[in-house]
């Protein structure tokens, strides 16, 4: 039953050799990997205006130079990530680049930071998308958290179905969003050029503004940089591309950068030209769309695709998180299970963990995840800075052809991203301080896991100089509760393996004990029976003590002790709860507490 539900949701398992078919072409990769970056267009401009609004409408013209600064940073990031793609064609992005060039700790910081960031991406973007949906349908507002969780589950299932399938489904909304914004910007540009828009509504660039400070401008710039989150996703996901993977990834990166630049500058300029103020209950993009189209079909087309892409931005996390977790797990910094491909060839454990973690975040914050946005931006700029710095050191060390140009690109990238990071910490410390606590904790956890796996590897290595002690024989203990077919079955099985079989009977009263001993003598005089009286109605404690004694004696003569426990297999599932409570208890207890070998003998009921 369970497995057919799984089949229905996830699809039939794919052969390992089908891996190639699951790879992405540029068209699908752009859809699946750029949704996070492109969706930031929906709020990037607004973030800048919100900071400037603290001075007043007169300061809005600063959004244009700030946006130019953001575009400049974007160009530097795209250029330097392009270099990373070709230098690290197997993916891994900031983690690998930092680890190789700056050392292990830097790598783990970058990796841990990104892992947490992808969880935040999912939580924040799904919550934002849910808000957009419930703003349109206010009746659903009380169910915000529930809807967000359902959306996360749907995206998780989509990703478990496999890359190409989710890419096919996701391509439509992403491209529809791009088309919607192009129509918006194109129509807006046409109206501005033909003089349909009143030019008097905006303040001229360069108008002096009273009370403006460098701090405020930097804060606005840092807020605008939140539009750049998601840029690194492609460099983490190169192995998902069709061959030649690095070339295809680089092309996708350039395409994404260009789209992002065009849309972001278009929206920012229109917001400036229309003289738009950020409002509490209407987004900047909605105001622009209303100003351009009125509340017609095209307005709702822009709004609908915006809501969709906000939800789908989560998907970028789903592509990048499992691969990053795979890389960390391969290097023994995360549990081994993250290296295993599931039925549909995705790293299912990573996908499911990401889904569960973001649902936990959404529930913990009651769907109010906006507070996490600054944290999430910082979580991106730490690996940005580390990987750029790593690339600088790489060029200095390797000095390939045209290394000065390459170094310059990464140097500019490093300086800007580091500056943005510093600005974040200075201007929004109250919201981002927790990074300073949880990042070190994650790095320590990574290292602990590594130490453990290494210690295990060493302990498991066979040492030819110290061969294992020879096992001289076996004792099998069979706890019995009566004389039944199950007991007969168990005793016969034990007898077929060794002569040293001991049946143990725990009694709760003395009369019963005697009676049972007599009965046993008649039935199987060839098998030794030990009866133990229990004062506490517990079978476990007396059994434990008895096993201790037997084990002590056995170890002296290199005998192994096995406890044989029957398990009833019922014909109907619901019958199961009518049995097996004690065998489950005994088995678990012996295995975890006593460390004896436990053999489970199934006994099949016929009705």
């Amino acid at each position: 039953m369970l497995s057919s539900v799984k089949r229905l949701l996830i699809g039939r398992p794919l052969k390992s050799t089908a891996l190639g078919e699951q790879k992405l072409n540029i068209f699908k990769a752009l859809a699946i990997l750029s949704s996070d970056a492109l969706s930031s267009v929906a709020y990037g401009t607004e973030q800048i205006l919100l900071v400037l609004a603290t001075i007043g409408a007169i300061a809005y013209w600063y959004s244009v130079p700030i946006a130019i600064g953001v575009l400049f940073l974007l160009a530097a990031l795209i250029l330097s990530y392009r270099q990373i793609i070709f230098s690290y064609p197997n993916g891994g992005g900031a983690y690998l680049v930092s680890k190789e060039n700056l050392g292990l700790t830097a790598g783990l910081i970058a990796g841990g930071s990104l892992l947490v960031d992808y969880i935040l991406t999912v939580a924040v973007s799904v919550s934002a998308g849910t808000d957009a949906i419930t703003s349109a349908l206010p009746g659903l507002h009380p169910y915000n958290v529930f809807i967000a969780c359902i959306l996360v589950i749907l995206i998780t299932i989509l990703n478990l179905r496999g890359l190409t399938e989710s890419a096919t489904i996701l391509a439509y909304p992403v491209y529809l969003f791009v088309i919607a914004l192009f129509i918006l910007i194109g129509t807006g540009a046409f109206k501005i050029l033909t003089g349909h828009v009143h030019a008097g509504t905006h303040i001229s660039i360069g108008t002096p503004v009273q009370g403006i400070t460098l701090f405020l401008l930097l804060r606005a710039f840092a807020s605008g940089c939140s539009a750049l989150t998601g840029v690194e996703a492609i460099s983490n996901a190169i192995p998902n591309f069709k061959d030649p993977a690095p070339n295809n990834a680089a092309k996708t990166l350039i395409l994404m950068g260009s789209l992002l630049a065009l849309l972001f500058s278009g929206i920012t300029f229109m917001a400036y030209y229309y003289g738009i103020s950020p409002k509490a209950n209407e987004t900047v993009v909605s105001q622009i769309a209303k100003g351009t189209f009125g509340r017609g079909y095209l307005y709702f087309f822009v709004q609908g695709t915006t809501a969709l892409i906000l939800v789908l931005a989560a998907n970028t996390g789903y592509s990048a998180f499992p691969l990053l977790a795979y890389n960390l797990a391969k290097d023994k910094y995360m549990p081994r299970m993250f290296t295993i491909r599931g039925d549909r060839l995705g790293y299912s454990n990573g996908i499911v963990s990401l889904g569960v973690a973001s649902i936990v975040l959404i529930i913990a914050f009651g769907g109010q995840t906006e507070q996490l946005i600054p944290l999430y931006a910082v979580g991106v700029f730490i690996p940005f800075t580390l990987s750029q710095t790593g690339m600088i050191l790489k060029w200095i060390r390797e000095k390939p052809a045209r290394w000065i140009a390459k170094l310059t690109a990464n140097l500019i990238g490093a300086i800007i991203t580091f500056t943005v990071l510093v600005i974040f910490f200075i201007t929004k410390f109250g919201q981002v301080w927790s990074v300073l606590i949880f990042l070190p904790l994650i790095v320590i956890l990574f290292q602990r896991i590594y130490t453990h796996y290494n210690a295990v590897g060493e302990q498991l290595r066979i040492d030819p100089d110290h061969p294992a002690v020879k096992i001289e024989g076996n004792v099998i203990i069979v706890p019995v509760a009566g004389i039944t077919k199950v007991v007969e079955n168990s005793i016969n099985y034990a007898k077929s393996l060794t002569d040293q079989v001991i049946a143990v009977y725990v009694s709760f009263d003395r009369d019963d004990e005697k009676k049972f001993e007599e009965k046993w003598q008649k039935w199987r005089p060839d098998v030794r029976l030990v009866t133990i009286h229990s004062h506490y109605r517990s079978v476990l404690q007396p059994l434990r003590k008895f096993i201790d004694i037997v084990e002590h004696k056995a170890s002296e003569s290199n005998y192994r002790v096995t406890v044989l426990i029957p398990q009833f297999m019922t014909k109907k599932n619901w019958h199961y709860i009518l049995h097996n409570q004690s065998s489950l208890l005994i088995r678990t207890y012996l295995l975890y507490k006593k460390k004896v070998i436990v053999a489970t003998l199934p006994y099949q009921f016929k009705k």
Copy 2:
């Protein structure tokens, strides 16, 4: 860790011989077994007035004759339950009486009805108590469900600690409530007699009332009968009494009946004399107390102890449910686990099941369990009627000394309880119809469980004419994933049991397969290695197929197949999640799906 938390909450385990010390004297038994019945004083009168209020204040005088009717029914019930106690000194109440005298189905109906009823008792009374608390502290109102669940958990823990301990703690609030009500009634009577209370506020008994119908009066009577729930608890719990148990139980019953009669008639008469109308936001008892004391200390004393006893009424369910479940389980109508005494000699499984079920009810109804009250009254009157009828048949069959008098007592009881039951179904069918569905379902479930246990017993019986087939030998399959100490350990263990050891290696690529085979040949040429190629990255499927083949061959020559699976025992608990996922999966799968013998070999890490 877990076990020390358990010790802290529940207390140290008690020896089986300490059972006698856990028994109740009359003082404690009254506290623990009468809280349900006595608490109904807090709402019984109000239930009658609420029905009469639909006609108007002029009809309130009917509450006095109706209360007399209820008192008459109470006397009949007490008398006939006294007879049940002496006839069935081992307890079991309605279930045993009905089963023995009316047949199995009647017994199961009575038992199932009471079991559900005790769950309702806990849910309803804890919700009512929580309402009383949050009415006093309105700030807590949004946390009603949470508080109710915490209270259920506390009462469950108290009961897991054992009978005498919970009796000691519960005695205070029960007796305080009784004292509070006696002070209230005493002061009220004094004021009435000394003429401090205006007599003009009430309508004289016998005043003709327009629009009154028999239906309405019957409905008011049925509502008043809800004050009688909980009367049967003592007859179910006789084994909990100190010796001579039946005598002590009978004395407790009479005491409880007298207290209940005094308090109920006192409250009802005062309500009538004060001319009190039921109000939505103030209880009748609160109005009487305010009228008698004003809002002073004594008023709050009455209110506080009332809230307490409403919560503690739940405890009656905790005494009776586990004993009833024990009786049903002993007769194989419920899972065997309900017959096992826990650390503190209570039937812990019954106690915990009751707690869990009532929490589920409270959460499902969002704490609004008032709707369950009629259901709960019907659930009591079904076993009332059945046990009275059973007693009638018993007297007719056995004809002991003074059987006519005994028969008369039970006959009156049977007629009245049956009448009340019919009134319930006629006047409140909309609220109680579900009984007609779930009771038959429960009875069917009981019978299914019985059939299953019997079938199992038969299947387990050893048949000397058909001895088990002799086991000729053993094959042990050891799945291996590499050449490590764990594998060495497993192979050595398997070899010490049989010569037929097969190591199985599942490979995901062909090169690796070859390499491993060569390595194995060098390492253990004495152990046969089988390698299987997996197309789907699954270890389970190829392993399953291989085991199928081996099993098929083995069964032909009466060999047994055992699969040996290593289990890593980590030094630190958190390390556990870094291992064992596949062994757990394989073990569970083989045990439940393949029905082969699975032996688990623990391997202890040293660091």
